[in-house]
C-alpha cells in the first residue's frame, strides 16, 4: 500500500477503541497501584468519544473529522487524559492536508499529533507517562515511513516501539499525575497511560495489516 486514506484511519481508530474496551478493567487495576484506580474508565470514555465522533462526522474531510474527534475528546471528563489526547487529535487534524496521504505526509500527520501533544504535556521521556510510549512510537513510525514508504510495516514497528516504551516505563519514577507522589515505590509498576498508548498503536497496526 502506498497511500494512507481516511477510511483506513477510521478503521484503525475503531480497532484502537475496541482494544481499549477489552483492556479497560486491567488498566484501572494497574492505576489502583500507583494512582486512583480509574484510568481504565477515563481512557474507555475517551475512546468511546472518538468512536462517536467518527460515526457522526464520517462525511467530513479528514482534517475536520479529526477536529470533531478532538473536541469530543476534550468534552470528556477524563482528568488529564482528555486534554492530552484532545491536543493530540488537534495536532493530527492540523497535519491532515488531504483525505489520502503519501507515506511522507502520513509521517507528517503523526508528527503534528506528537508536536501538539508536547504543548499540553510537560513530560519528558522517562517521566513514566503516555509520552514514554507515544514519542518512540511516533519517531519509529515517521522514520520507517520516510525510509521505506511501507505504511503497514511502519505501523507494526510503531506498535512494537510503543509496547517497548510502556515496558521500559516500568523502571521509571513518575514525575507527573497522581503517581508523582509515589517516588521510588512506582518503580516496577506499569504506567497505565503508557500502556493505553501501546494498546492504541497495537489497534492501529492490526487494522492496517
Amino acid at each position: 500500500m502506498s497511500t494512507f486514506d481516511k477510511t483506513t484511519f477510521i478503521q484503525m481508530l475503531k480497532l484502537a477503541e475496541a482494544k481499549i474496551e477489552e483492556e479497560h478493567d486491567a488498566l484501572s487495576k494497574l492505576d489502583a497501584i500507583t494512582g486512583d484506580g480509574d484510568h481504565g474508565i477515563t481512557i474507555q470514555r475517551t475512546m468511546k468519544a472518538v468512536g462517536q465522533a467518527l460515526n457522526e462526522g464520517a462525511d467530513k474531510p479528514l482534517g475536520d473529522l479529526l477536529k470533531t474527534v478532538a473536541m469530543k475528546v476534550m468534552m470528556c471528563d477524563g482528568g488529564s487524559t482528555s486534554p492530552l489526547l484532545g491536543s493530540y487529535f488537534l495536532g493530527l487534524a492540523s497535519g491532515a492536508v488531504a483525505d489520502e496521504l503519501t507515506a511522507e505526509q502520513t509521517g507528517a500527520l503523526f508528527q503534528a499529533g506528537l508536536d501538539n501533544f508536547f504543548k499540553t504535556s510537560k513530560a519528558q521521556l522517562g517521566d513514566k507517562t503516555m509520552m514514554d510510549a507515544l514519542r518512540p512510537a511516533t519517531e519509529v513510525l515517521v522514520k520507517t515511513l520516510n525510509d521505506s514508504g511501507d505504511i503497514p510495516a511502519a505501523f507494526s514497528a510503531a506498535a512494537a516501539a510503543a509496547a517497548q516504551g510502556a515496558e521500559k516505563a516500568k523502571d521509571y519514577i513518575a514525575k507527573f499525575g497522581r503517581a508523582r507522589t509515589m517516588g521510588e515505590r512506582a518503580i516496577g509498576q506499569y504506567d497505565p497511560g503508557a500502556m493505553s498508548i501501546s494498546h492504541i498503536f497495537r489497534g492501529f497496526a492490526e487494522a492496517i495489516n
Binding site: A32, I33, D36, G37, D77, G79, G86, R185
Partner: protein, 328 residues
Amino acid sequence: MKKFINDPTNLTAELLEGMALAYPQKIKLESEKMICRAKSKSADKVALVTLGGSGHEPALQGWVGDGMLDISVVGDIFAAPGPPKVLEAFQMVKRNAGILLVTLNHAGDVMSADMAKQMTEAEGITVKEIITTEEIRPSADEKGRGLVGCMFVYKIAGAAAEKGMNLDEVYRIGDKVNKNMAGIAVLSEIATHPSTGGECGEMGEDEMEICAGQHGEGGGVRMPMKSAKETAELLSGKIVEKLGLTSGDEILLMVNGSGKTTLMEMLISFRDAAKFFEAKGIKVVRGETGEFLTVQEAAGYQLMALKFDAETKALWDAPCDTPYYTVA
C-alpha cells in the same frame, strides 16, 4: 461493593441533580455538570469559578452560593472536567469585573484550567487563577496537592468579591489565604471507586498513611496505626513547622473527615490538635469539624489550618449561604 447507586456510569449526573433538588433556593444545575447560584451575583462583582472531579461530596459544588462560589464545573468521579466545559463556565459569568478561578493542584485540573484559559484569552475574558497547593509533602521541595483548603479560599475570596472588591484585591486576598494555609491527610482505610467497584489502592490492617492525598493514590508515609492524640500531634507539628506558627498567632483549624471516620473520632482528633496548638501559645480562634471534602468511604481525615490576619479573619466571619456552608 455495597452502595445505594443506580447506573455506575451516571453517578455524577444523578448526585448533582439530587443536590439541586435538595437546595433549590440556593443553587441550580445550569447545564450538564455545572452548578450555579440560584440567583446570580450582580455583574459588577468579581465571579468565582472552580473545577474538579466528583465523588468528594459535598466538595466542591456544595459551596456554590452567596458569599462563596458562582460556578462549580464538575468532572466525573475523581476526574477533572474537560477544558470546553470550563470555557463554557467562563462565558456564562464573563463580566467587566473579571473572574477568579480557583484550581486545586492536580494534574488533570491544572491542565483543563490551563487550556480553558488559553481559549478564553482569545475572547477577551479576564481570568486570574489561584492554584491551591497547601498539602504538606514528606519532602519540603515537593509541591503539594490541593486538599480541602480550597474551601478557605472560596470562603474568604468569595466574601471579598461580595463586598465589591476588584479582581486584583480579590486575587491578593485569595493568594494570601493559599500561602498561609497548610494541611495534611491521614488515611487508615482505602476507598472503593464507585464506578468500578475496585479498591483505589491497598492498606494493611494495622497501618495508616500520612501525606496521603485524597484519592488513595498513595505516596505518603506508611506507619503502624496510632492513637488519635499521637496522630493529631504528629500532623499538627508538621503544620506548625510549615506555617512557621509562633506563640500569639491565631488560626482557623479544621478536621475534615474523609467519609468513614466518625464525628466522634473527628472531635477527639480536633481536641488533641487544638490542645497541641494551644500548648504552644497558638490560638485556635475558629474551628470546623465535619465532612467537607470526602473520598467515598475512605477512613481518615485532613487536618487543615489557616494562619489568620485581621483581614482574612473578618472575611471568614462574613455571611454566606451555600448548601453545605452557611454563616448567618
